[in-house]
Structures are given as structure tokens and as C-alpha cells.
């Protein structure tokens, strides 16, 4: 490089490199406290790189909490920062700085879903610094975000070709593997990820590993700043991706090894916990792992989807709510969602589940109601119109019931085809009855534990 050029370009080259790592499906949930801490740090930082990485990370954290509006607001702030930096860098005749800011403006545009704008900016950046691995890494990340995996693969191959330092090379190989997975080329991706994970765990990276341990660095970033943060994040992501590929092709033992290695670095990694839960040898082990995963991030859409397919014994409020939802016990599910929403009012996952737990318009059961009719009444009891309430008060119903307790003449509660009911107080009937009998009753309301509150009118033994 000529002296003229170097004087213009070196300031940006000396800046810390931001390494953008592809986001995995599930992240540990950042608490409100952690977000407040990140915002506080942002308020105290002045330089472009710190501000930008902070905004992008905050956006990703918000996205992981399924808070898209708040995530978009952070990405818009990142775009604003990058655009301002572009203009400032250009006025200062610092073209590498300009290219770097242009790449990040493109990434922010991609996170906002604006593909044409992102593409134009990426092309602009590549004109100036096509020899820069970070530029191609950002290109690949943006194309992945926008759903263009083949373009991402191509950009990532360029990044690998021009990467110089071992850590940079590992980052770029991981980005390429990620893009290859998106493009459906699992075999090349797996080979690359084996290379990356083995390299990162090799003596060549001992120094970074020790530094990470000394600093107790375990945070996983999507936009990592500095070598230690990049190393920690990259090792986490690469092992998760490799595990997922192993799992996909049925190599359960190999997958478990990778998930376990992830947990060695960070015990509350949601993806690893969920992965091990899927591969657990028994239900008790699966239940324990799902509990840990839900404690780490109860709002991960991927985790929720997965758990609803396999709802083993619930241990957290979110799990209990999901089990209620799966059973059609909407009222019980709503109660839990409402309690969680009081703590996380902007959480889109909760809002979506809460909407799902809403029942349709209420309808009165037939004189000999089915379980579904009774469950629908429980779910929508508050929606009854005054006219429906009056009609319900007057109506009598008859069902075959199963009382709790022993045969006799005094009963307090039971079920109608699986739907719980209770009387306002234990009732003594004339005669002696088996626990299964035909009950004639009125419906008074909904009692504790979402049980129907019934007024018994008569009881007869079954033939």
C-alpha cells in the first residue's frame, strides 16, 4: 500500500473488528435486568463500533424474546448510526471506515427486511474492500437473513479465501458452513464444522481459551467485539450447528457429545438443553432438561414448539401453561399467561399464546352436555351475555358423573367425562350410590381449579 493510501486507510484497519455470527434458533433469554445493563453500557459508550454492536445485539436479544417491534427499533438505531458513520467517514476521506460502515448499514437494512437497500449497500462496500474478510462475512450474514442462501454461500467462500488470522478463518468457515446448511449442502457444512470445532479446541487457541476462563467470559453474541468474545461465541455456535447436523442424520451419540460440550461452556444454553432433551434416554431425564431449558428462556418459540409436541412432566409455569393449552384447558392456561404477561407485557410469544388461549363465542351446553361442550363453557364463561346467564341459571342438565371418594350417599366433587366439577358444599343424597351415577344439576359458575360449580338436583343409579 502506498504511503498516501495508508495514511487514509489505516485508522479504520486499527479498529477492533466486529465479527458477525449467524444467529441460532434458540437463545438464552436475556432478562430485563440484563437488557437494562446493556442499555446503560451503550449510554456510556461513544465510539461507533461499541454503539453499533450494542444496538445490533440488543435488537437480536429483543428478537430472541420475540419482541419484534422493540427489535426493529434497535435495528433502526443501528442503521442510523451506520448511515451517520458513512457520511462522517466519507467527509474525513477514510474510505475503509466508510466501507465498514456501509457493510453495517447493509446488515441493519437486512435485519429490517429491506433486501434491495441491503444489496446495494453490500455491493458498494465490496467495491472498496473486496480483500476484507469481515466485509464478505457481513455480506453473507445479510444474504442469509434475507433468505438468499446461495448468495450467502458465495460471499462466505470469498471471506474464507481472504481470511488471514486463524480466528478469522474459523469465523469465516463457520459462516460458510451456516450458509451451506441453509442452501441444503449438509455434507460440506459438516466437514467444515468438524474442522472449525477441532481447530477451536486445539492448542492453537489455548491462549484465548485461558483468557476467556480468566475473564469468566461466557456471553454469546451475534455481533461479537474482540477476540475473546468472538472465540466464545464462535465455539458455542459451531458446536451447536455441528450437533444439529449430527442429529439430523441420526448420529445421536455424536450430537450428544457436541451438545454436552456446549453446556461445558455455558450451562444454560437453551438449544443444547433442548437438544439433549430430545435425545434423552428416558422421560425423567427429558423432563429435567426441558425444565432447565425453560428456566433459561421460557419464551423461545422453537423450544415452545418442540415441547408442545412432546409435553413431558411440566416443571415451570410456561410448561404448565403449554400443557393446559394442549389439553384444551384454556382458562387455566390463560391464568398463567396473564401472570407472565404482568412481568413481560411486550413479549410477543406470550401475547400470541394468550391469543391462542382465547376461546370463541360462548354457547350454552345441551341438556345432556358432552365434555367438549362443558369445557367450552369453562373456557368462555366470562363471555356469556346477560341473556345467556339468565338462561343458564334456569337450565337443568343431566350427565353421567364419576364422584371422587368412595360409594355412599355423600359426595362433594367428581368429573363429567374428564371435566372437573364440585358442589358448593358436600351433599347428602337419599340412598346409597356407586361412584358412577346419573346426576341432574344446574350450573352455577366456575369454581376453584377451573372446576364447574354445580347445584345438584337429583341423583339416580345407573341400570
Amino acid at each position: 500500500m502506498s504511503s498516501r493510501a495508508s495514511s487514509t486507510l489505516c485508522s479504520a484497519l486499527c479498529a477492533l473488528i466486529l465479527l458477525v455470527l449467524p444467529l441460532t434458533a434458540q437463545q438464552r433469554l436475556a432478562s430485563d435486568f440484563e437488557i437494562a445493563q446493556m442499555e446503560k453500557q451503550l449510554a456510556g459508550s461513544r465510539d461507533f463500533q461499541a454503539q453499533l454492536s450494542g444496538r445490533l445485539n440488543l435488537g437480536d436479544v429483543r428478537a430472541a424474546r420475540n419482541e419484534p417491534s422493540l427489535a426493529r427499533a434497535e435495528y433502526a438505531k443501528a442503521l442510523e448510526l451506520a448511515e451517520r458513520e458513512r457520511v462522517d467517514a466519507r467527509r474525513a476521506s477514510s474510505l475503509t471506515r466508510y466501507a465498514n460502515a456501509t457493510s453495517y448499514a447493509a446488515l441493519a437494512q437486512a435485519k429490517l427486511g429491506r433486501d434491495a437497500a441491503a444489496f446495494a449497500l453490500l455491493e458498494e462496500a465490496a467495491r472498496y474492500v473486496s480483500d476484507d474478510a469481515e466485509t464478505w462475512n457481513l455480506y453473507a450474514s445479510a444474504m442469509r437473513l434475507l433468505g438468499h442462501p446461495r448468495k450467502a454461500v458465495s460471499a462466505a467462500r470469498n471471506a474464507v479465501a481472504v481470511a488471514k488470522k486463524p480466528l478469522d478463518l474459523a469465523v469465516q468457515q463457520h459462516a460458510l458452513a451456516t450458509a451451506l446448511v441453509d442452501a441444503g449442502d449438509d455434507r460440506e457444512a459438516e466437514r467444515l464444522l468438524v474442522t472449525v470445532t477441532e481447530a477451536l479446541r486445539s492448542p492453537a487457541f489455548a491462549e484465548l481459551r485461558e483468557e476467556a476462563a480468566e475473564r469468566e467470559a461466557f456471553e454469546v453474541y451475534t455481533t461479537a467485539r474482540g477476540d475473546v468474545a468472538a472465540y466464545v461465541s464462535l465455539l458455542n455456535r459451531a458446536q451447536l450447528r455441528l450437533a444439529a447436523l449430527y442429529e439430523k442424520r441420526g448420529a445421536a451419540a455424536e450430537a450428544r457429545v457436541q451438545y454436552t460440550r456446549v453446556l461445558e461452556g455455558r450451562t444454560d444454553d437453551v438449544t443444547a438443553l433442548a437438544g439433549l432433551a430430545r435425545l434423552a434416554p428416558n422421560e425423567a431425564e427429558a423432563a429435567r432438561l426441558y425444565r432447565d431449558a425453560f428456566q433459561a428462556n421460557p419464551f423461545s418459540p422453537a423450544l415452545i414448539r418442540e415441547y408442545r409436541k412432546n409435553p413431558v412432566a411440566p416443571a415451570t409455569d410456561m410448561q404448565r401453561a403449554l400443557v393446559h393449552l394442549e389439553r384444551g384447558e384454556l382458562r387455566a392456561a390463560r391464568a398463567i399467561f396473564d401472570a407472565l404477561l404482568a412481568k413481560f407485557p411486550a413479549n410477543e410469544t406470550l401475547l400470541s399464546l394468550r391469543r391462542e388461549s382465547e376461546s370463541g363465542n360462548a354457547a350454552l351446553p345441551s341438556p345432556t352436555p358432552s365434555a367438549n361442550e362443558l369445557r367450552a363453557l369453562v373456557n368462555a364463561f366470562e363471555r356469556l351475555t346477560p341473556e345467556q346467564r339468565t338462561a343458564l341459571d334456569r337450565a337443568t342438565f343431566a350427565s353421567v358423573v364419576t364422584f371422587d371418594g368412595e360409594p355412599g350417599n355423600t359426595f362433594a366433587s367428581g368429573t363429567i367425562d374428564g371435566v372437573a366439577f364440585r358442589f358448593s358444599e358436600p351433599t347428602i343424597f337419599n340412598g346409597t350410590f356407586a361412584t358412577t351415577a346419573r346426576l341432574t344439576y344446574r350450573i352455577l359458575g366456575i369454581g376453584e381449579g377451573d372446576a364447574l360449580l354445580l347445584e345438584p338436583l337429583g341423583l339416580e343409579a345407573l341400570p
Partner: protein, 335 residues
């Protein structure tokens, strides 16, 4: 500064407009249409590139891997699916070639595709010969001919006469090579390869030479004059392209690098750094991608033609310049 920043933020550009000049008038692609001379045909969703010959214009959508060829005389259009990321196209001897960068292939429409090296980024032609520069691989390949290694990571590639030019922003240089006399297609690869570097191969021009055009010269008596956009210096440099020894001897003298900004002195030639330059005869224009400002310039002054112009949404015409102003084609006579 604040004003500039606000402009950048709120004059949010639409990126998907491209424009070119043809014998049938200015052709513009925007909002999924291709329009010219009162005619309109369906276009592509994101118009990222346009080029034309006498009767046809081709519009590319690099994002969606699509091309539309408009027959300018008949007013019809043909839609093509391309390989991954068509970034450029060229008509050579009435044949259409589309450069699909991320597929690493040059598609010859109606003919055979040519596989290419890593990151084929630039396409040019000379006398019907088609050349592709692969940026990260550092390879210049003639389609149907041979390839040579050249320095990688150039930002622009141009051909004029028997010479090719590559600009290198980081190194502050322009590399010049020779493609050989027209008509040598098919010669064997070897020491007499038609593509070969000439000496001297490098010109140091400006701080960050980004884009290059030709501003005259190139006759039997004069060397070609290069116009080189340097956004760092906020100038367009004029430089005489280096001659081969044979040429220099033939002319009886060897001209050196002029290497001066057009206006001389310390003042910036443009208020902002321009990174694109285009010439057609004696009409010269420059463009600043960061502020999306289009300039007209002469040896004595630069003037703003338009602001908020998308990259690619301007073109030189027979007697001036045309650009897309957001709603219609604006034209200004400059000659």
C-alpha cells in the same frame, strides 16, 4: 454536517432503478416496469443493472436471479431465469452475455455457459471479444480465449483499444495490461498469449482510485487520458495512460503521469468525494454514492446536477445526461 446527515437519513433512496441511453431514447427500469419513448413492458422486481445495444435492452434483477430483455423496436419483452446473482450483462456481436457472479458462470443467452473463477465481478468487451475479471481470484479471462493472472481486489475494470485498466483503491494505483490486437481469438496459450501485461504496468493515481473512464486521447499521436474518481481526495484525476515502449518510440516521446486534479491547488474539486465517473465525448459526469449526488464537471468547475439519485439511475446521452428523479426521467443538455 447535520444537514448532510439528515439528508442521508430521510431522503431514503429507492435502490431499484436503473437507466441507460439507446437509439430508441432513454430506457428506465423502475417499479417492476421497463419504460422508453412512451412504451412500457413488465420488468423485474429489483432492477439492479441495465445495458442495451441498438435494438434491445436487458434489465437484471441480481436478487431474484431474473433478466428481462426488452425489444425496443417491437415493444415486447422476454423474461429469463438466470444463474445465481446476475450482476452485469453485455451485448457483443449481437450476442447477449450475462455474468452470474455467485454461480461463477458467464451465461451466453442461446449459447453455452462458461465457468469462471472465484468472484467474477466485472465484464467488458472490445471489438466483440468478451472479458471477465474475477476479483478475489485475480484472474482476467477472455471468453473463448485464455486467462492470465492479474492483481486481485480491483474496484473497476475497463477496456479501451488494446489495453485493459484495473483500479485498486487500497493501493492507490491503476494497473494497465494489454489484451492484444483484435482478431487474435483462438491463439494458443503461451508466451505470445494475446492477454499480457505491458511495461510499465502500474500508475499511482490519487489516494483511493475507485472508478475509471476515458477522457480523450488514444490516437496515433496521443496517449489515452484517464479520468479517475478518487473519493478520498474529492477529485477526479486526469492521467495519461502509460504507453508501451513501442508506442512511445513511435510517437517519439514518452509522456509521464499528469497526475493532477482538474482544478489544481489545494481546494477540493467536489464538495463531497465522488466514486464514479463516466464520460461520453466531452461530457463528463461524476457521482457520489454516499450522498447520492450527481455532478457534471469540466476542467474548470463542477456543478450539482441532482441529489438523491440511486446508484445506476443515471446515464450519459448523446447530448447530455439523464437520470431518474423519483417519478420520471429528467434530462439535461450539456454539450
Amino acid at each position: 454536517m447535520k444537514r448532510v446527515f439528515l439528508m442521508a437519513l430521510f431522503a431514503l433512496p429507492s435502490f431499484a432503478q436503473v437507466l441507460t441511453d439507446t437509439p430508441h431514447g432513454v430506457v428506465v427500469a423502475h417499479d417492476a416496469r421497463i419504460e422508453w419513448a412512451g412504451r412500457s413492458v413488465p420488468g423485474v422486481e429489483h432492477a439492479t443493472f441495465i445495458t442495451a445495444d441498438a435494438d434491445r435492452a436487458v434489465v437484471l434483477d441480481a436478487l431474484n436471479n431474473e433478466a428481462v430483455i426488452a425489444d425496443l423496436a417491437r415493444g415486447t419483452a422476454q423474461r429469463l431465469r438466470t444463474a445465481e446473482t446476475p450482476i452485469a450483462a453485455i451485448f457483443a456481436n449481437r450476442e447477449l452475455y450475462i455474468l452470474a457472479r455467485d454461480a461463477r458462470v458467464l451465461q451466453h443467452v442461446g449459447g453455452e455457459d462458461t465457468p469462471l473463477d472465484a468472484d467474477p465481478s466485472h465484464l467488458a468487451q472490445a471489438g466483440g471479444r468478451v472479458f471477465v475479471y474475477s476479483r478475489t481470484a485475480g484472474v482476467l479471462r477472455e471468453i473463448g480465449g485464455e486467462k492470465v493472472e492479474v492483481p486481485p481486489f480491483a474496484s473497476d475494470f475497463e477496456i479501451a483499444g488494446e489495453q485493459f485498466f484495473l483500479t485498486y483503491p487500497r493501493e492507490g494505483k491503476v494497473v494497465i495490461g494489454r489484451i492484444g490486437p483484435i482478431g487474435q481469438i483462438g491463439r494458443p496459450i503461451g508466451p505470445m498469449s494475446p492477454i499480457r501485461p505491458i511495461r510499465p504496468t502500474t500508475l499511482n493515481i490519487g489516494s483511493v482510485p475507485t472508478d475509471l473512464a476515458f477522457a480523450g486521447g488514444g490516437t496515433a499521436l496521443t496517449a489515452r487520458i484517464l479520468a479517475v474518481a478518487d473519493p478520498s481526495a474529492k477529485r477526479v484525476w486526469l492521467a495519461e495512460s502509460t504507453q508501451s515502449t513501442t508506442e512511445a518510440v513511435a510517437r517519439g516521446f514518452l509522456r509521464g503521469l499528469l497526475g493532477l486534479g482538474l482544478f489544481g491547488g489545494r481546494a477540493s474539486q467536489f464538495p463531497t468525494g465522488v466514486d464514479r465517473v463516466e464520460t461520453r465525448g466531452k461530457v463528463w459526469i461524476a457521482y457520489d454514492s454516499s450522498t447520492r449526488t450527481l455532478y457534471h464537471f469540466t476542467r474548470k468547475q463542477s456543478t450539482v446536477l441532482a441529489r438523491g439519485v440511486a446508484p445506476g439511475a443515471f446515464a450519459l446521452t448523446e447530448d447530455g445526461v439523464a437520470w431518474w428523479d423519483g417519478t420520471s426521467v429528467a434530462q439535461k443538455r450539456l454539450r
